[in-house]
């Protein structure tokens, strides 16, 4: 039980990391393209990346809960 719970936790954290780190350069490039200064762009992109990673975790967990039978 604990083993599968640990695996599931790592998957959630993995999804958050992939989306967060994946979005950061995209968001930063977009903001720079729109003329936002570098320090402000970095701050905004970081915040957006965190926000999207949390939304991704939510969507991932909802999707997985709906097919929870696959993991039990």
């Amino acid at each position: 039980m604990l083993g599968s719970s640990l695996v599931r936790s790592l998957f959630v954290i993995g999804v958050m990391l992939v989306v967060g780190f994946g979005w950061y350069p995209i968001g930063l490039a977009r903001l720079k393209k729109n003329g936002v200064a570098e320090p402000a762009a970095k701050k905004q992109a970081k915040l957006a990346a965190k926000k999207y990673s949390i939304i991704a975790a939510f969507l991932y967990m909802v999707a997985m809960v709906s097919v929870a039978g696959l993991f039990v």
Partner: protein
């Protein structure tokens, strides 16, 4: 800060009832939730060199809500891990109180449902602690909102989560919050109205739907979180309507994994889904400036 301590006060009667009805295991789960949430916030803020804000009581409220929203069958470490996740991922990552997108207690509860699905069941009856179907499980099996005395549901003599079973004590706590003007009452009012209308359309007793599951705890204490619910009255009504619709949809047709577990309650999904729309509702229903 006053509001958070008001929330703790309002939740206390239902939590005490849970401990009285379910015994020591209930106390352990509640304490696991509170201690982990407070510790996770303090540790995260220390590591990220932020001001430690655990004294504002918001982490304790998150932990208490989570501890109250699980069964006594749930091991304490599951509550503990979920509370820590709710605080860190649901609140601290975006900058703490006021900047979070999701209600941290609900986010922690979703984590709990996903990560520890085999510890959700069985639901136990208060006092004798025998395994029993919840009113919503009976509804799912029979298609009828009956079979459980409404008075038992109202007073908390039904199987369910530690702090969810006593609607009476939760409503007393909520009345206190309304009296102190600590909560956005339009949200639960709209959610309960939707549940009432849909139950009447289905020809069922609305009281069954009011007092079964986590509607009272979710709509009155979690959906009204001032950080993650709409600021303006019309937005709050739409938010509440959305919650009511999703909860009833989940109760009637919720996700099912035959032979494993059926999600007969949808409060977690309802509140978190509507949390996503809060920024949009704030923009859409922002009152026009007075001329």
């Amino acid at each position: 800060m006053k509001m958070m301590y008001g929330m703790l006060t309002a939740l206390l009667p239902a939590a005490i009832w849970g401990v009285y009805a379910f015994g020591l295991a209930a106390l352990i789960n509640i304490l696991a939730g509170v201690v982990s949430a407070v510790a996770a916030e303090a540790i995260f803020q220390t590591l990220t060199k932020q001001k430690i804000t655990v004294k504002d009581g918001s982490a304790a409220v998150t932990g208490l809500l989570l501890g109250m929203a699980v069964s006594i069958s749930t091991p304490w470490y599951a509550v503990s891990a979920s509370a820590a996740f709710g605080i860190i991922a649901g609140k601290q990552l975006l900058g703490g109180v006021g900047k979070n997108l999701f209600n941290p207690a609900m986010f922690g509860r979703l984590f709990y449902l996903y990560v520890f699905p085999d510890s959700i069941l069985p639901w136990l009856r208060p006092f004798d602690l025998t395994t029993s179907a919840t009113p919503l499980e009976i509804l799912r099996e029979t298609g009828e909102a009956a079979g459980v005395p409404i008075l038992d549901m109202f007073l908390g003599r039904i199987p369910g989560a530690i702090g969810e079973v006593s609607s009476l004590l939760l409503l007393i706590g909520f009345s206190y919050l309304v009296y102190r003007k600590f909560v956005r009452w339009r949200i639960p009012a709209a959610a309960f109205s939707v549940v009432l209308v849909l139950a009447l359309i289905a020809g069922h007793n609305p009281l069954f739907y009011f007092f079964a599951g986590s509607l009272v705890l979710g709509a009155c204490f979690m959906a009204t979180d001032p950080m993650t619910s709409p600021r303006f009255p019309k937005g709050q009504i739409v938010f509440g309507i959305g919650i009511g619709l999703i909860i009833m949809g989940m109760r009637w047709w919720g996700w099912q994994t035959p032979g494993v577990y059926e999600f007969t309650e949808g409060t977690t999904f309802a509140v978190l889904t509507m949390n996503l729309f809060t920024p949009y509702l704030n923009r859409t229903f922002k009152p026009a400036p007075k001329k």
